[in-house]
């Protein structure tokens, strides 16, 4: 019955959503039995979780654009860090535009390397990541640069409007932009076409090089936005601030049903994937699970979920 009701594209989203409810219920049962309260179900707590999850959510949104092409962007950690560090170093009104410019530049470089030089994205973005790290170490290592977040960065990451954290509004704006691009524009359709079969897309007259560059720019831009906000949230930029976002972002995209080889996936799935990972982390920290257990559960959940709905076709010819 489930099979017929849900298309292959929606099944992962439905299952992941069910799992989110299961996580919330399990966490609530735990807190009720130990402390007699149910903080997980309070709107305030959930909003707070979504606020901290928005950084991952924005990274994952950009990552999805690249994964839909069958590529991957391993330069997210240091793009994020570089954007945050240049933003705080520049300061003032130009802080955020500079950070976005950093993101766009990195995206263009990545896109050129992957689409024109035809170097596998896996290794090219890894190289770009290393170069960015080198640049940041060279720039900030010798002296203490200005690393304080500007007021507007603090506002974006920490303040609340109408009781809802501003960070969630930013995340929502990014999400709407991505959904519109993917479903309502030619560029979005080109991404799906190029991801399915690049040669066919090329022969149909799609300028696949521009599409690839565009997707990497989107990823760099998203990483830069996340960097600006994370710097605002922690009130400063620091080295290695982006390291914790790469693998969860990939995991969120894949858990949401986007195919890692490209061509298939819906943005709502990525959104569900991010929420799943954020809530899983928060429930595990409420349970005071040691790091070892967290990592094991985290890995097992990804494998388990994919075993349910992420299986490939068997090769038979």
């Amino acid at each position: 019955m489930m099979q017929t009701l849900l298309s292959t594209e929606n099944r992962p989203i439905a299952i992941a959503s069910t799992f989110i409810v299961a996580i919330l219920l399990a966490g609530t049962v735990y807190t009720l039995s130990t402390a007699g309260t149910a903080p997980l179900l309070s709107p305030n707590y959930l909003l707070q979780q979504l606020q901290t999850g928005s950084f991952l959510g924005i990274c994952a949104a950009g990552m999805m654009m690249v994964i839909l092409l069958g590529h991957i962007d391993l330069s997210v950690p240091w793009t994020l860090t570089a954007a945050a560090m240049t933003a705080t170093a520049v300061g003032g009104d130009m802080a955020i535009p500079t950070a976005l410019a950093v993101g766009i530049t990195v995206g263009v470089v990545n896109g050129l390397g992957v689409s024109v030089l035809r170097i596998p994205s896996m290794i090219f973005t890894l190289g770009v990541d290393t170069v960015l790290r080198g640049l940041m170490v060279a720039q900030t290592g010798g002296f203490a640069p200005q690393d304080k977040a500007t007021p507007i960065m603090l506002f974006l990451a920490k303040e609340r409007m109408m009781g809802i954290p501003v960070a969630i509004f930013v995340w929502a704006a990014v999400s709407v932009a991505i959904v519109v691009i993917l479903t309502r524009t030619g560029f979005g359709r080109s991404i799906y076409a190029t991801g399915s079969r690049e040669a066919a897309a090329y022969l149909s007259g799609i300028r696949t090089r521009l599409v690839i560059i565009g997707a990497f720019v989107a990823s760099g831009l998203c990483a830069a936005i996340a960097g600006v906000m994370l710097a605002g949230y922690s009130a400063k930029a620091y080295q290695g601030m982006g390291n914790a976002f790469l693998l969860p972002a990939i995991a969120a995209v894949v858990l949401g049903g986007t195919h890692i080889l490209g061509g298939r996936g819906r943005y709502i799935g990525t959104l569900v994937g991010v929420i799943l990972i954020v809530l899983l982390n928060s429930v595990l920290s409420i349970m005071q699970m040691p790091e070892a257990g967290r990592q094991i559960i985290y890995g097992s959940v990804i494998v388990g979920m994919l075993l349910v709905y992420g299986r490939n076709q068997r090769v038979t010819s």
């Binding site: 991957i72 391993l74 390397g113 024109v116 030089l117 035809r118 170097i119 596998p120 896996m122 290794i123 090219f124 890894l126 190289g127 770009v128 990541d129 290393t130 170069v131 960015l132 790290r133 080198g134 640049l135 170490v137 060279a138 290592g141 010798g142 690049e198 040669a199 090329y202 022969l203 696949t208 390291n243 693998l247 990939i250 995991a251 894949v254 890692i260 080889l261 040691p290 790091e291 070892a292 257990g293 967290r294 990592q295 094991i296 559960i297 985290y298 890995g299 097992s300 990804i302 494998v303 994919l306 075993l307 992420g310 299986r311 490939n312 076709q313 068997r314 090769v315 038979t316 010819s317």
Partner: protein, 348 residues
């Protein structure tokens, strides 16, 4: 005739031949610039620092040959490093048991990866992303804090020259016997890597299973239709990858006398292993290359970092230079795209 054969070999292994040439040039230049170059002491120090990344790069090669990627090799190395730091001490028999246990646990983890990829039909890159987290979790459970205890004699004997090995365990007249003299100055770590490469990798590459791994990387459908043992080859490749990563973890434990469940370190090893595999001439699309190339690629990565010590480069610039070297090295392979006549050949 022989020249012709050499030429053909070079044409068939351009990536590997270039890497080998680059390594020789780098090594010779390094030793000429080093005040104590071409000595056993320098070779011992350098080879010690290279062993772990060499093994991890060799481990990464197998999934890459299949056309996949293993994001858990660094984590498996970390896990086995932590296990080894617990079990490799005591009597010789206990140490041997501990070493075997370490290698077995790494292989078992690789087997798990292989089963998930084959029977679970999940893409290797994403399956190993998840199992890598599990491996790190297990490593943290085995060793929550860095530390450990590995037999000092073993640590000394395996990280120095053959003479010291013989001296420590008192065979071959403590290293003075006539037949061991020609080998006395060779660093033991080089021997270990060479033995694993010759005894494990080469026979595997020539077996039906090994050839199947290459065939799957070239065209899985064709390999299937030819009746090759696809599932067996994939599972063996991942298991062997786990074994090689465990070799790296075991050696790191012996070398440092400790284990450290460091997530950052595991990630760095995984990413460097991909770089080493590409530098060594293995195609990320699968089907061509080999673990010996990755061995060379890993050594190139290490030698580049050795140069920083003698060239007196500002330490703050080192990561930047490392990054540029890596980016340039992988971009050199891109020049084939300029020679492609039919644009459709680009989209493979």
């Amino acid at each position: 005739m022989r020249v012709f054969r050499l030429k053909r070999w070079v044409m068939q292994n351009v990536g590997f031949a270039t890497a080998l040439l680059l390594l020789f040039v780098l090594l010779i230049t390094y030793n000429m610039m080093h005040p104590r170059g071409f000595s056993s002491a320098v070779a011992i120090q350098n080879s010690n620092e290279a062993v772990a990344i060499i093994f991890v790069a060799m481990a990464q090669t197998l999934p890459v040959l299949l056309g996949g990627l293993d994001l858990s090799v660094g984590a498996i190395m970390t896990l086995t490093n932590c296990i080894a730091s617990e079990v490799v001490n005591g009597s010789p028999a206990q140490m041997l048991f501990g070493a075997v246990l370490t290698l077995l646990s790494g292989s078992a983890f690789g087997l798990l990866n292989g089963c998930i990829v084959v029977y679970g039909r999940i893409q290797p890159i994403i399956a190993t992303l998840a199992t890598g987290a599990v491996a790190i979790g297990l490593a943290l459970a085995v060793r929550p804090k860095p530390g450990g205890n590995v037999d000092d004699d073993l640590s000394w004997a395996l990280t120095n020259s053959v003479y010291d090995l013989a001296d420590t365990y008192g065979f071959a007249d403590g290293g003075d016997a006539w037949w061991i003299r020609p080998f006395a100055d060779i660093p033991v770590p080089i021997l270990i890597v060479a033995i694993v490469a010759l005894v494990v990798w080469l026979p595997f590459k020539r077996s039906v299973t090994g050839r199947t791994v290459y065939a799957i990387g070239s065209a899985e459908g064709a390999a299937y239709m030819s009746g090759l043992p696809i599932n067996r080859a994939k599972i063996t490749a991942f298991t062997l990858g786990g074994f090689l990563a465990a070799c790296g973890g075991l050696y790191l434990a012996i070398q440092t006398s400790s284990g450290n469940a460091d997530i950052q370190q595991a990630g760095a090893y995984t990413l460097n292993s991909i770089a080493a595999v590409v530098l060594g001439g293995t195609s990320l699309l699968g089907g061509s290359g080999g673990a010996i190339g990755s061995l060379v690629g890993a050594m190139i990565l290490r030698v580049i970092s050795f140069f920083f010590r003698i060239l007196d480069i500002d330490p703050l610039l080192q990561p930047l230079i490392e990054g540029f070297v890596l980016l340039t090295a992988v971009s050199v392979g891109a020049f084939r795209t300029l020679r492609v006549k039919n644009k459709l050949d680009l989209f493979r």
